[in-house]
Amino acid sequence: MRFEIYVALRFLREARSQTILIITGVSVGVSVLVFLTALIGGLQQSLIAQTLGAQPHIVVRPEEESARPMLAKRSASNEVVFSVVEKSAQRLRSIREWQKVVHVLSDIPGVAGVSPVVLGAAFAIRGSASRAVALYGIDPERFEQVIPVASKLRSGRFDVSGAFVNLGVDLADELGVKVGDKFRLGAPGASGDVFVVSGLFDFGNKEVNLRWVLVSLRNAQTLLDLVGGASQIFVRVDAIFAAQALSEEIAATTGLVSDSWMRTNAQLLVALESQSRSSQMIQLFVIVAVAMGIASVLIVSVVQKSREIGILRAMGTSRKQVQRVFLLEGLIVGATGALFGSILGVALTLLFQALARRPDGTLLFPFELNVRLFATAAAIALATGVCSAVLPARRAARLDPAEAIRYV
């Protein structure tokens, strides 16, 4: 065993109550770090999952139609006069050569799923009940890669082949249909067709549950008069926070309009960022408090150990060795605190999970406890331990051995 470790461990053991107190302080600090990070991480993951659960990460669509300003007339004084240009109403259009675009998008690194979609407004009618719906024409296999539907089914199956449709549980309630029932789907100005409910989904989102109707791509093309077309392409990415960069890359590659979830949910991003900042501020204050605790206890320890330091110096212990003894004390305190703090943090998290549940007993949201979190907490605790020990260690190393032996 090295001299510095030997002495540092013994000094810590000798001042047992101080050591226990300081390790408890570090443990509490680390547990707060672990708990808070797991809580905020879980909360954010839950928010993102809820928001993106029924939303593609990137939507690719054709450019909006716009009227071109025409040169109206040239006056006698040669002045050019433009007429007022009004924004034209948008009609449902297909992405040109969408099959090729789907192929191109699938090959972009970081893209996890690509699904062509025909999306338009329609009416769901059953008896006297009529509801405006968002009609999604989808290729079920591809759609499932972008927005998982099968796992959200409350009843029935994920099947949109032939005349089968999937719709949300709230819409089914309003129409009074269940799996196996028939109803009519039609676009504005068209009579539409009769479809059979094959499955009811619940995305935990009222808007989606009330508005979405999933049919096959071919049925949507026919109903919305977009034969052979796809009005949008939905994209899922591997890293959700890389969506904006990928969206820009897609727009540049395809020349189409590409919107990421980060742009369409800017407010959510701001909220998440504010949450992270608040959490980081709390964590910073905790770290500062822990650091001050370690530093003050070690400074007291240096004063208490002045005589011992003087004796060691007289026996041939160098200033650097003395300095390393106290740095090691900080490191040992930090490491032990990190270990107990992580255990305490997990216990706190599990306790919170057990207590804070929905009325049906399910988790409020999953906590994010992973190796990275513990590694970060441990690294912070170790760094705090060592940094806090720098001042006491330097003070110890500067002690004049002759003075220390004589007066203490």
Binding site: M1, R2, F3, Y6, R10, F11, R13, E14, R307, E308, G310, I311, L312, R313, A314, M315, G316, T317, S318, R319, K320, Q321, D400, P401, A402, I405, R406
Partner: protein, 231 residues
């Protein structure tokens, strides 16, 4: 002429800023291998200051200090510490054992400190030293579990841990009863005779000083007399 262990010339030590106090004034001194020397003088005469300078715990304001023929003026703190660890042993009035370590660990400490790590033979060597000072059975006791005399024996064993040629003892019996004091002095005298270790003992005890081979008396930071042989 015998081999000098330590040699100082023209050593002065002054303290203070505007008002300067001179603790030592032009001391010339040489200690040879195997000497058994008493350093006497009234309180404030500069004994402790001289011991600190001889022990390389303090630097003189002027003058030279050579240890085993090596000049120390140009040595940096690390080199000075290394030289101190290898060449000098200390015995203090209040034993100054490390309270958190057992007797045997206290004796091992100079070995561990200089080697930078605990080595296999260190405990055996420390136990042998404790045996030679007659407290081997107390090896695993902490300092507060043994008597003052026993503590000072352990301190003597620790001072000898690295077989230094010179041991500086500051009032080694000052805190002991007469019987224990006599035992400790007999002990260090034995090491002086058997191992040829030089001892410089700062003391107020005139009978102890009289039992030494040489007596140096300091008054007001200067050597009043330096006489060899018993008076």
């Amino acid at each position: 002429m015998s081999d000098p262990v330590i040699e100082i010339a023209g050593v002065t030590k002054s303290y203070g800023g505007e008002v300067i106090t001179s603790a030592l004034r032009g001391i010339d001194l040489r200690l040879d291998r195997g000497e058994f020397v008493a350093l006497t003088g009234p309180s404030g005469s500069g004994k402790s200051t001289l011991l600190n300078i001889l022990g390389l715990l303090d630097r003189p304001s002027a003058g030279t200090v050579n240890v085993l023929g090596q000049p120390t003026a140009q040595l940096d703190d690390d080199a000075l510490t290394g030289l101190r660890g290898r060449s000098l042993g200390f015995v203090f009035q209040f034993h100054h054992l490390l309270t958190g370590f057992s007797a045997v660990e206290n004796v091992m400490m100079p070995m561990v400190s200089v080697a930078g790590r605990i080595e296999a033979n260190m405990r055996a060597s420390a136990l042998k030293l404790l045996e030679s000072v007659g407290v081997a059975e107390l090896a695993d006791r902490k300092p507060n579990q043994i008597s003052g005399g026993q503590q000072q024996r352990v301190a003597v064993a620790r001072a000898l841990a690295l077989s230094p040629p010179l041991v500086l003892a500051d009032e080694p019996t000052g805190n002991l009863d007469t019987k224990s004091a006599a035992e400790v002095i007999a002990l260090i005298r034995r090491f002086n005779r058997e191992m040829g270790i030089t001892f410089l003992i700062a003391t107020h005890d005139l009978s102890l000083a009289a039992s030494c081979d040489r007596q140096i008396n300091l008054v007001d930071g200067q050597i009043e007399f330096d006489r060899r042989g018993k008076p």
